[in-house]
């Protein structure tokens, strides 16, 4: 998606526009025009990708925006992308987002934290239907917390499709839940064609957790939309120094550290103000601190922020503080730097890889170290030795772009497609040799059941009876340039936002 187009959009990540599915009939004529266009360019493999994750809009978060932005850029590159996720309340059935990005909200039961239940079997009929009717060639699953993603990988391998997995988070090794998740990840990834991690730390973590061959793991960082995060120095109050914190107020984000920093710095510097955006169970810690030291005028808690309001909060500050205790790739500090703020962060997980040293001050995750780091930045700010926000922005804007991410992901797809998908006997052998005797046995058994179930479904409802879906994106897209022109020419407006609640 081009820069121009982007600035034109109101704010697609928060409210992707919905449109009525294009009436199928108009596109069923032989796609001569699009074929001719295809041959004009150099021969490049076009993939039909299905992104699967439990996490997608209307749920908000890093994974959601990653999937959305990546899909948009892949569509721009001429691939066909569909997204499969579970139904969110009333949002069920099939929806279309900007540029013909098709989203399947499948009616699967949600168990915990927006993650679906998993039996490894029951989601096969619906996912098979999606894969067959969209003629998917690559299944790309996101997030290790998502049960649906693991299910989709499992079924895709059974159906003989190429698989790619993106891991978005870091895990421990010690506690019971990590041990179980790691086992599941080992099983799920041992026969996946390619794995993508968001930072080198995350790659190391994933390779260790899932006992993988590091060669099949690629690192592709996240990106931010630089046009959304532009500096605006006029919004700052330069008579005081404002420290901005934007994160969920949870333990993982180090809010207890923040509760230690605030009183220490506030007693030393009388022109220091804190602006804290976000909501979560640790809010009480900050409220207690504020109460105890009587800092009501200097510590402002803004509560939950919409994604579109984040920039407005960021540009009001001078310093961006991140106190995370674990982080695979920190989008927040890139957003902060993109708005021209001085960034102070903890040195944990993948954070040291994210920004060049001149743009970030790294500290140990302790109160004293963070205070020392903040002190130096405050001193620099007072002496006026900091680079102007516009300079910082221009440095950051070239670092992480979604187009770059899409280009690299495309290469991963090319690579994955060249690899063979293991046939069942080889897959069983891999499972048993890779995942230990017990888990290997259980999951081999499940793989066989899944295979038989697929056979049963193919007998019950053969592939040729499933209508091939009309492409909304990709080489034979009916939403291509010619379609948009046609829609504009004919004055008959497409019925927008038809009720698509089904089932």
């Amino acid at each position: 998606m081009g820069q121009k187009k982007r600035s034109g959009r109101v704010h697609p990540p928060t409210c992707p526009s919905e449109t009525q599915p294009p009436a199928a009939a108009r596109t069923l004529d032989p796609p001569n025009s699009s074929k001719a266009r295809g041959f004009g360019r150099e021969e490049r493999a076009r993939h039909r990708i299905c992104m699967v994750s439990d996490f997608f809009y209307p749920n908000m978060g890093g994974v959601e925006s990653h999937i959305y932005q990546l899909s948009q850029c892949l569509i721009e590159k001429g691939h066909k992308v569909v997204i499969a996720t579970h139904a969110y309340g009333n949002r069920r059935g099939i929806r279309y987002l900007t540029n013909g990005l098709k989203v399947y909200y499948l009616p699967l039961q949600v168990m915990y934290n927006q993650s679906t239940t998993t039996t490894c079997i029951h989601s096969l009929p619906l996912l098979r239907c999606v894969f067959v009717r969209e003629r998917v060639t690559v299944v790309h699953a996101h997030s290790s917390f998502s049960a649906m993603a693991h299910d989709a990988l499992f079924h895709a391998k059974t159906m003989g499709l190429n698989t790619v997995f993106t891991d978005h988070s870091l895990f421990g090794f010690a506690d019971l839940s990590s041990v179980l998740t790691n086992k599941l990840l080992t099983v799920s990834l041992c026969d996946t064609n390619h794995i993508v991690c968001v930072s080198y730390t995350s790659k190391e973590n994933t390779v260790l957790r899932a006992a993988l061959n590091p060669d099949i793991v690629s690192v592709i960082p996240n990106a931010v939309d630089p046009t959304d995060f532009t500096p605006d120095p006029s919004r700052r109050d330069n008579s005081k120094i404002t420290i901005v914190v934007v994160s969920r107020l949870v333990y993982r984000k180090g809010i207890d550290l923040l509760g230690g920093i605030i009183p220490e710095l506030c007693t030393k510097h009388h022109d220091l103000y804190f602006l804290i955006g976000g909501e979560g169970p640790k809010r009480i810690v900050l409220e207690e601190v504020r109460e105890k030291y009587q800092l009501h005028d200097r510590v402002r808690l803004l509560g939950a922020l919409d994604h579109k309001d984040v920039r407005d909060v960021l540009v009001q500050g001078h310093i961006f503080l991140n106190t995370s205790l674990t982080e695979a790739f920190c989008m927040a500090i890139v957003e902060g730097a993109s708005c021209g703020l001085q960034v102070v962060s903890t040195r944990v997980g993948g954070i040291p890889e994210v920004l060049p040293d001149e743009l970030v001050t790294l500290c140990e995750p302790t109160v004293s170290s963070l205070c020392a780091g903040l002190e130096t930045v405050i001193a620099r700010q007072r002496s006026g030795k900091v680079p102007p926000p516009a300079d910082i922005h221009s440095k950051v804007r070239t670092l992480y772009t979604w187009r770059n991410v899409a280009e690299r992901t495309e290469k991963v797809y090319d690579l994955a497609c060249r690899q063979p998908v293991l046939p069942l006997p080889a897959r069983l052998q891999r499972l048993q040799s890779h995942c230990g005797a017990f888990a290997g046995f259980i999951f081999s058994f499940l793989a066989v059941i899944d295979f038989l179930f697929l056979f049963f479904l193919q007998w019950l409802h053969p592939d040729h009876l499933i209508d091939v879906a009309v492409d909304a994106s990709g080489p034979h897209s009916c939403w291509g340039p010619s379609f948009k022109k046609k829609a504009k020419d004919s004055n008959r407006a497409w019925p927008p936002g038809a009720d698509t609640r089904h089932c």
Partner: protein, 182 residues
């Protein structure tokens, strides 16, 4: 002028689409499903009776047998009266509206009529149906309060569920008529 085309429904069973062209702004589409097959009736009846006989063998109560007979008879009647649809007809008259009628195997017919002024458009949509995802044809009904809004969606050919190629043919003819009236 009439043309008959063979299509299949989403389960692969043959259905017949009969297009009657009365004039350029009046067309009738009839989708006919195959009749109740004798074989299926015999299999159903036999299985119920065999089961009843097995129960009778254990309990030695003749009420089981008589109730089985009643169940099969009532079930058959209910099936042809309420479930089994033989024809579904869509009559579209450009200046007037759309009439949908469903005739059941028993001969019962139910008809609804939608005026043209209430119809926003006829489109092909997708839905999750049971454990699969299908295309269906539907009428979008205008919202009286909001000119661009849609109050409800009326699915067409609900019981025969034709496949996409059949829907496309109906869709194109319907669009031709709707385009004339605007």
């Amino acid at each position: 002028m009439a043309e008959k085309n063979e299509f299949t429904d989403i389960n692969g069973k043959a259905i017949l689409l009969d297009c009657q062209n009365y004039s350029s702004f009046c067309r009738e589409f009839t989708v006919s499903s195959p009749k109740v097959s004798l074989c299926k009736v015999i299999v159903c009846t036999c299985s119920v009776w065999l089961f009843a006989y097995a129960v009778f063998f254990v309990t030695e109560n003749t009420a089981v047998l008589s109730s089985a007979i009643i169940i099969t008879l009532v079930g058959m009647m209910m099936h042809i009266h309420l479930v089994k649809v033989e024809h579904e007809t869509l009559l579209i008259i450009g200046s007037l509206g759309v009439q949908l009628s469903t005739s059941y195997a028993s001969g019962r017919e139910s008809t609804t009529f939608i005026e043209m002024s209430r119809i926003k458009d006829i489109v092909i949509n997708e839905a999750v149906y049971m454990q699969s995802i299908i295309y269906y044809l539907c009428i979008l009904i205008k919202d009286s309060g909001d000119p661009n809004g849609i109050a409800s969606v009326v699915p067409l050919f609900q019981s025969s569920k034709p496949r996409l190629n059949c829907l496309v043919q109906v869709y194109k003819s319907c669009q031709a008529i709707i385009a004339q009236t605007r």
